[in-house]
């Protein structure tokens, strides 16, 4: 007899130790296209082997199991605080089992109590919906790639970017240039045009819930997504910044409203170890009905 706790631990385990299919395919494709015997290609070979090992051993793909971001849709019969409480228990238990690293540090004292739970952690985006089931999506995003995210305020003189789509393009490509190999590329970008400083980054991360092989319903953004990947892959940064053709696996962009005074372009950089999974659960959470990726 299952429970919401068990379901959440399994979602955490699978997110941490198995690559989602769409990303795995993109990495394998990058490996085929990369220049043979260059150190960039060798890095991709090691990545491919690592993905297999992690799945077979049920151990984390990357030791930095990152920020824990839950995106949840609850039936109206399920109390939000109860969900959060159980999810926090699941996170701590998953840490004890080794699916997550002890990753949460008190910013004032420097102490790491090993529970992975604290003020602001994990992150929960919870909404109610009319369905009689629970949808849980989970993103684990490591610190290395988190640190190379960037938020631009247009106009930006340094990169000659004005308040238009061309300016957004310059900002996004500048973020890729500055990141070099520090975000563990080949990476995926999540971008939000607009918003305030908080919602800009929040919506940019929401883009990671999209499948890599989907299309953007807004034609100009769809074109920009493809163009950014093509241009980034001409920069020669390559896997790990070793040089090569595979610098980005994808770019996902959304636009949200902004104030007249503000024009932010928020770029979140996701590493190759793109850990993102999701499941539909029964209304009480006791059973996983299907996986989303």
């Amino acid at each position: 007899m299952g429970s919401l706790l068990d379901s959440l631990i399994e979602i955490i385990r699978r997110t941490s130790v198995e690559m989602p299919e769409d990303v795995h395919r993109a990495i394998l494709h990058g490996l085929e296209e990369e220049e043979k015997s260059a150190i960039g290609e060798q890095a991709l070979q090691i990545i491919r082997r690592n993905i297999e090992l992690a799945k077979n051993k049920s151990q984390p793909i990357c030791q930095d199991t990152g920020s824990i971001l839950f995106y949840v849709k609850l039936p109206i019969t399920f109390f939000e605080d109860d969900f959060e409480h159980t999810a926090k228990q699941a996170v701590t238990l998953a840490t004890k089992k080794g699916y997550l690293r002890q990753n949460s540090v008190d910013s004032l004292t420097g102490k790491n109590d090993g529970t992975n739970v604290g003020p602001g952690a994990p992150t929960f985006h919870i909404h109610y919906w009319k369905e009689n089931r629970i949808e849980v999506r989970l993103v684990l995003k490591g610190g290395g790639c988190e640190n190379v995210g960037a938020q631009y305020s247009l106009p930006d003189e340094k990169i000659e970017a004005n308040r238009d789509l061309e300016g957004c393009r310059k900002a996004i490509l500048d973020a890729v240039l500055q990141a070099q190999g520090k975000g563990c590329g080949p990476g995926v970008l999540g971008v939000a045009i607009g918003g305030d400083r908080a919602t800009g980054y929040e919506f940019s991360k929401g883009q990671f819930l999209r499948k890599l092989d989907d299309s953007n319903p807004i034609p100009e953004l769809d074109a920009l997504e493809k163009e950014i990947v093509a241009t980034a892959n001409k920069l020669g940064i390559g896997p790990m910044g070793f040089g090569g053709k595979t610098t980005l696996l994808g770019t996902k962009i959304c636009a949200i409203n902004r104030l007249p005074a503000s024009f932010f372009v928020s770029v979140s950089y996701m590493c190759w170890a793109f850990r993102r999974q999701g499941a539909i659960l029964t209304a009480d959470g006791s059973k996983i009905e299907s996986w989303l990726y």
């Binding site: 150190i39 060798q42 890095a43 090691i46 990545i47 082997r49 690592n50 090992l53 992690a54 051993k57 151990q59 984390p60 793909i61 990357c62 030791q63 930095d64 199991t65 080794g98 690293r101 002890q102 990753n103 540090v105 420097g110 102490k111 790491n112 090993g114 490591g142 610190g143 290395g144 640190n147 310059k170 490509l173 500048d174 240039l177 070099q180 190999g181 520090k182 975000g183 563990c184 241009t231 001409k234 920069l235 020669g236 940064i237 390559g238 790990m240 910044g241 070793f242 040089g243 590493c271 190759w272 170890a273």
Partner: protein, 190 residues
């Protein structure tokens, strides 16, 4: 691939060049943000930590404590090294390091320190936590546990740990080269 055993001589380090792929065997120690700050502020490591002619690994592993009190390492990929840039040259000098393992590269101060003191930067594959965990044959000790598990100094016995020289002991840096080249390419494409 060039096999290296630790401790490593200055001559061996000087023979390496950017692009060389090495495999390490011997004792390495992990050390990242907390311990670099600690050393920078005058802190000393316990005398049992043998880093002279040795190798420091920028890594926060996942360690599972076993019933007998020992530790099993279940994930051990590198962390981003550039955060240690303000401190690395001093640490290379004071501890007598022959190699620093990490990912993402380091900056000009570290490139200079590698040249001055006979050290190289070895770039491991970021996120390859399982591939590297397999190379760890034993976790023989842990120090500075008060920094928390990812930030502690873990003493690891490794065999066949693969990494690429991206900063050598002669002032060459793949990171600087790729940054310069990609910047020029972007100017044309933009």
């Amino acid at each position: 691939m060039l096999p290296l055993t630790i401790p490593i001589s200055k001559e061996t380090i000087n023979s390496l060049k950017v692009g060389d792929v090495v495999t390490l065997t011997g004792t390495i120690y992990t050390g990242r943000d907390a311990v670099h700050k600690y050393l920078h502020e005058g802190g000393k490591l316990p005398s049992e930590v043998k880093l002279r002619d040795g190798v420091l690994y920028h890594c926060g592993p996942v360690m599972m404590k076993q019933e007998d009190g020992s530790y099993l390492c279940t994930a051990a990929g590198p962390t981003t090294s550039i955060r240690e840039e303000p401190y690395q040259s001093q640490v290379i000098r004071d501890l007598g390091l022959r190699a620093v393992i990490g990912k993402g590269g380091m900056g000009d101060k570290t490139v200079q320190a590698c040249k001055d003191f006979g050290c190289v930067y070895l770039h491991a594959v970021g996120g390859a936590a399982q591939v590297y965990a397999e190379t760890i044959k034993r976790v023989t000790n842990v120090y500075m546990m008060e920094f928390g598990s990812p930030e502690a100094v873990w003493e690891l016995q490794v065999e066949g740990f693969i990494a690429t020289v991206t900063i050598d002991a002669h002032g060459n840096s793949l990171h600087r080269d790729i940054l310069n080249k990609s910047t020029r390419v972007l100017v044309d494409l933009i």
